[in-house]
């Protein structure tokens, strides 16, 4: 059952080929058997899952259940789950049990989706390798000495390792697309405002967006149908109809104009990754899409702009973790200042502290205009690059990340080496555009991701292209060694 796609599981549940309880037991058993190898799941909600599965089976028996009713799913541990620890990968929230559900979690719960547990992640979603988690690194199922990417590395590894058919994730600078690429699965970051951020622990509020991870584009469409909704509780959520993302998957891609940014094929791109992406572009051309070289001239400024804007927002968002109302508090504080300082130094890991310090620096008197003001202006230039490009093309396609999964510790002590991992993904967050990654090849036995960037709220067209690509390729069906 673990090799079925979500679309196949839906059919199996609705035709009574198997029950949700059987399915849930199967995935719980896989988590119990294989999670030690991957460290992808940090909280398993077995009892709750089986109860939800029983209810789902009752709804299915009545014949009027929503499409995803009875399907098991994992949630990234950044989404608040009522009564279930939500740690955000941090010691700071190791004891945090939210009294409410995030809207994304609530949407799935209402649809009868069964939560199996919560996935590991980089601490507060700050990282591209999952090495910053308080709960230890996640291992890539394709090569367990390599990182799964981050920050949604637990979700990606769990889907690749068949511990769940799908998972929720979030993306602030590439945190859905990069781990999806490194783990050989499909993942989609929607347009900013498409999915509610309510109950999703904030990192950088103008960049964060939740999205689905699954093995196929078809499954991402099914999950996005449930995730996307207007939510009055998130003031940046856009009040716009949610289309049926599954409805347009089978449209032809003939005549689609695909922009290929020349800046995404320059120095730093692994030759194997480049070859795989170029082969994928040729496959799309063979399907009738038209390739058009485009330029995104300010691409090289996206990482510098991001590392002002994201830490600046993070330094403000994370000021709430002070040991007063919830989460970690240091032992025996001698006064209030000591409590704040020790709580935050003991509760946050090194990368989170570094980003708070950078953000505070960029926002401090004397530096605000030179850093934060300037980064906002560069953000406008980057947005304008995409607006200009989309006057001429329907979608933009290129590599998701510069190289396949790298070994643990190989980026050394220099944080900048890690930051450059997101060089092709960050610009879409700054512009608020949707982007996705689908598997498009293998290099040294490790997967390569193809990134598809769409215009605002054009997720359906991205999914259409990705699905059509998956009709003529089989990269998405391949499994890491040992999984049968």
């Amino acid at each position: 059952m673990h090799n079925y796609t979500i679309a196949e599981l839906v059919k199996g549940l609705q035709s009574k080929q198997f029950s949700s309880v059987e399915l849930t037991q199967h995935f719980l058993s896989r988590i119990s058997q294989f999670n030690d190898q991957y460290n992808a799941v940090i909280t398993v909600t077995a009892d709750q899952a089986l109860q939800a599965a029983q209810l789902a089976d009752q709804r299915l028996a009545m014949g009027s259940a929503p499409a995803l009713c009875g399907v098991p799913l994992l949630h990234k541990d950044i989404f608040c789950t009522k009564g279930v620890r939500t740690s955000c990968g941090s010691k700071m929230l190791d004891n945090f049990i939210p009294p409410y559900n995030a809207t994304v979690v609530e949407n799935f719960e209402q649809a009868g989706v069964v939560m199996l547990g919560k996935t590991n992640m980089d601490e507060f979603a700050m990282g591209s390798s999952n090495e910053t988690s308080f709960y230890g690194p996640v291992k890539n199922p394709w090569a367990t000495d390599c990182v799964p990417g981050g920050s949604s590395g637990g979700s990606a590894a769990a889907v690749a390792g068949r511990l769940a058919p799908g998972a929720t994730a979030t993306d602030t600078g590439g945190s859905i697309r990069q781990p999806a690429a490194l783990c050989g699965i499909s993942g989609l970051k929607p347009t900013y405002g498409r999915v509610s951020r309510w109950g999703m622990i904030a990192f950088a509020s103008s960049l964060d967006q939740a999205g689905p991870m699954a093995r196929t584009a078809e499954d991402c469409a099914l999950l996005l149908n449930c995730m996307a909704s207007f939510d009055d509780k998130d003031s940046t959520c856009v009040d716009r109809d949610v289309p049926d993302y599954s409805a347009s998957l089978n449209k032809t891609v003939k005549g689609l104009r695909i922009g290929v940014p020349k800046e995404y094929f320059s120095e730093g791109l692994h030759p194997g990754t480049e070859a795989a992406v170029k082969k994928a572009l040729a496959d799309l051309e063979a399907q009738g899409a038209e390739l058009v070289e485009i330029s995104l001239p300010n691409s090289d400024l996206s990482v510098p702009a991001y590392y002002v804007i994201a830490p600046a927002e993070a330094s403000a968002n994370l000021s709430r973790f002070d040991g007063v109302k919830y989460g970690y508090r240091c032992e025996n504080p001698k006064d209030l200042q000591d409590m704040y300082c020790r709580t935050r130094s003991e509760g946050f890991g090194e990368e989170v502290q570094r980003r708070i310090l950078i953000g505070t620096y960029c926002l401090s008197a004397g530096y605000y205009d030179a850093y934060y003001g300037k980064a906002q202006q560069v953000r406008k230039l980057i947005e304008q690059d995409f607006v200009n490009a989309f006057k001429d093309v329907d979608l933009i396609v290129g590599p998701t990340c510069p190289s396949p999964a790298f070994k643990f510790g190989s980026k050394g002590d220099d944080p900048v080496a890690m930051y450059l991992e997101d060089i092709y993904t960050i610009a879409t967050n700054l512009a608020g555009l949707p982007g996705m990654s689908v598997p498009c090849g293998m290099v040294e036995g490790k997967p390569v991701g193809l990134q598809i960037i769409g215009n605002y709220f054009d997720e359906a067209r991205m999914l259409n292209l990705a699905h059509q690509f998956q009709q003529v390729t089989d990269w998405h069906t391949q499994a890491p060694e040992g999984i049968s």
Partner: protein
């Protein structure tokens, strides 16, 4: 760009983060490396560019000024580090 040690100490105070003597050199070096990266922004010509703080200039909605939630004090205080008689408690601030 080399950030000075005094600046790191000031940032640590502003951020309410303690940096101990053993790690301050490493923290300074790594922060300087990140600031070298962001200094590339200076190369951009942004004359007359109006910066943006969020994507596609979406305006934030304001909700009606109505009470929508009941009092959840008990639920929230159940997960607090320390409470006393309905109040969140912190170390003594004033003698």
């Amino acid at each position: 760009m080399i950030i000075k040690r005094e600046e790191i100490e000031k940032l640590a105070t502003l951020s309410r983060i303690s940096i101990d003597e053993k790690t301050i050199t490493d923290v300074t070096e790594r922060l300087s490396s990140v600031l070298d990266l962001v200094d590339q922004l200076k190369t951009a010509n942004t004359d007359s560019v109006q910066g943006i703080s969020r994507p596609f200039q979406v305006s934030q909605r304001l909700r009606a000024d109505e009470v929508t939630e009941s009092n959840h004090r008990d639920k929230f205080q159940a997960i607090a580090p320390a409470t006393d008689n309905g109040l969140f408690t912190v170390p003594k601030m004033i003698d």
